[in-house]
């Protein structure tokens, strides 16, 4: 046990602080990196809007924007200029101060979180050896959640300050959505923290040298993917702007540049959550396993890291677009039920399970080894978890089967004219011997007449 305690201690000593070394980074270099990050995000946003429209166009068998510039690439730029030149309307009932502050908060907060994302390892830049990352702290991942939490103010204030009903409802809806899904998201991240032993992004990337966390923390990965869609208010979870119910949601009353800020914020948020997913679950800037081994890791790190990072990032962006192209919007209560009654409890159980697995791996539950050097305790814990999961699945399954049995099977024969209107038979059903048409007709007609004579309005 003494060994275990000391190893735990060593773990804490090693991984609490960021692995990225900023000691050779003067302040002007940080400034340059910040500006570059800003520019990259803006350009990426321009690109992803075009990308989204093209891909969805393909999915719906139409070309998408293809006039402005080569392949329509400049379409977004044109749209942006047009948006900026539109009249800026402020409603009479609006709370001026908050109405202006809301888009600024939403837009600004979206950019902040990207500061802690490691785009790659250390590179030489203007004569300094510096990580391709603006900053890192021991609680970097929590910073993303905190910034997202503050960003919600933008949405909720936009809704309130517009002084009109639809934006208020949309704002409340979307902030409720973000807050609820942030809980499940935070819980999903806990498993990653447990594996990496750190909350610093650079440490988490380094800790994935052996295996990307999307495999050992697969459940967290799934939950994170679901919650990141909920968190960014994207289809199928874009209830805050359900046109049928709420017109445009919180930004109904916004126009021109203020609207552009929300628009930009939403897309930058998509990049942020995707970048976080890349960092936490897909090994960040590290090359895929096969390529990482080539030439002693010559493609793994340095400026090459940028390539791998952006490939992974854009895979997530494609996933967002794909979802939008294929799924309908869910209903609000279904969405909330999924978040509170499914995601949060199951993730909670999952975190406890991971805690046990980690405790076994680190030797807190005994050091004896089974075959092939796998710790016996790990095997036992995994076996216990598997048994529990199977037992729950079995109980649930029998319950479901019983419920299914209760549903009475449709009768074998059906009289197509029983309700007055002709009804086609269900698969496997036979029609009752047809009644002679003349005998059946008066009954059918009288019931039809009844319907048509009903007073309207």
């Amino acid at each position: 046990m003494a060994v275990a305690a000391s190893s735990m201690h060593a773990l804490a000593m090693n991984t609490d602080h960021p692995a990225a070394d900023f000691s050779d980074t003067p302040w002007w270099l940080s400034l340059i990196k910040a500006v570059l990050l800003f520019v990259i995000l803006l350009l990426n946003t321009l690109l992803v809007i075009w990308f989204e429209r093209r891909v969805i166009g393909r999915m719906q068998q139409r070309p998408g924007p293809n006039r402005a510039g080569p392949f329509g690439l400049l379409q977004t730029l044109a749209d942006g200029v047009k948006l900026a030149l539109k009249e800026d309307v402020t409603p009479k009932n609006a709370d001026k101060l908050m109405f202006i502050a809301a888009p600024i908060i939403a837009g600004a907060m979206a950019f902040v979180a990207f500061a802690i994302i490691p785009l790659s390892g250390s590179v030489w830049m203007f004569g300094h050896h510096t990580p391709l990352q603006l900053t890192d702290t021991p609680v970097a991942v929590l910073l993303v959640l905190a910034v997202a939490g503050v960003g919600v103010y933008g949405i909720v204030l936009a809704g309130w300050s517009s002084g009109s009903t639809y934006p208020l409802l949309g704002g409340l809806r979307s902030s409720a959505q973000v807050i609820s899904y942030e809980i499940a998201m935070g819980l999903a991240l806990v498993a990653v923290f447990l594996y990496a032993g750190s909350m610093s992004t650079s440490q988490i990337v380094l800790a994935q040298k052996g295996i990307w966390y999307c495999i050992p923390a697969f459940f967290s990965f799934i939950v994170y993917i679901i919650t990141m869609v909920g968190e960014t208010n994207r289809l199928p979870f874009d209830l805050a702007e359900g046109e049928g119910e709420l017109t445009g949601g919180f930004h109904t009353e916004y126009s021109s540049l203020k609207f552009a800020m929300f628009f930009l914020g939403e897309y930058v948020n998509m990049f942020t959550v995707s970048a976080l997913a890349t960092t936490l679950f897909l090994g960040g800037w590290q090359a895929p396993p096969g390529i990482a081994a080539i030439g002693g890791g010559m493609f793994n790190g340095g400026w090459w890291g940028l390539l791998w990072f952006f490939i992974k990032l854009w895979l997530f962006m494609f996933f967002f677009v794909w979802l939008r192209g294929s799924l309908p919007r869910v209903r609000y209560d279904q969405f909330m039920r999924l978040g509170w009654k499914v995601l949060i409890p199951t993730t909670l159980v999952w975190v406890v399970a991971v805690a046990f697995i980690r405790a076994a791996q680190l030797g807190f539950l005994g050091d004896s080894k089974a075959w092939g050097g796998i710790p016996r305790a790990t095997l036992i814990v995994i076996a216990v978890i598997a048994v529990i999961v199977l037992a729950i699945a079995w109980v649930w399954d029998t319950k479901q089967a019983r419920k299914d049995n209760e549903v009475t099977a449709p009768p074998d024969e059906v009289n197509p004219f029983a309700g007055g209107h002709p009804v086609p038979p269900l698969p496997g059903q036979r029609l009752v011997e047809p009644v002679p048409a003349i005998a059946a007709a008066p009954a059918a007609r009288s019931s039809v007449d009844n319907h048509s004579e009903e007073p309207r309005g």
């Binding site: 000593m13 910073l143 905190a146 503050v150 909720v156 807050i179």
Partner: protein, 262 residues
Amino acid sequence: MTHLGGAESTLFWFAAPLSVLGALTLLFARKAVHAAMGMAMTMILLGIFYITEQAEFLGIIQIFVYSGAVMMLFLFVVMLVGVDSSDSLVETIRGQRVAGLLFGLALLALTISGVARTTFPSFIGLDKANASGNVSGLANLIFGKYVWSFEVTSALLITAAVGAMLLAHRERLRPKLSQADWSRRRIREGVNVAGLPVPGVYARHNAVDTPALLPDGSISELSVSRVLKARGQVVNTQTLTAATEEFEESTGDSTQEEGGQQ
């Protein structure tokens, strides 16, 4: 971690007045939402202070939990309930504002005089406090010396959750009626079999607060929500039809003669 030194004090002199401003907004803002936003700003700035003092975990959690979640719920309630400035300005107990101010000042004087008289010992230093990492150091304390407090807090959280359920959540005592159930019920009872009449549609108006007209020209009481009726927010249809009639007269385009009797 490098010491910020000059940068730290610059940040302080920039952020400290802002946080005081936020606190004063809470006190003096006329709109409840502005007050809540002032408080949220103060809380975020407090979090930033913590971070500059190298309590990163505490600072982030302060922003995440208090500003991100708790204040947001406050805002929710304020917006949904619709508190406005006209509600709370009446003093029910005379002179309590003055008394409160005096007591507040007395407390302030007491603490300031206390703190001013104090000679503080030399500080241990943040580097020593953060020797094993900010997060790990905190974890060592929470799960070490203060584990009892940490565990007992769970009783508090359970109580809060149960209390909220008890005071605010109305338990569903019978199954919720589905659309089909409502339909069956209407048929069985034979009242409003086709559902309640929809609100009226006029040339210039079409909303839930406009009652529909019955064939004899009178208003259908059933076509507007009784909540709107109780609040007195139902539109007077006379003005709507009058405007149309006036318009028809002026243009000579009257559907009334064509339609015959109404």
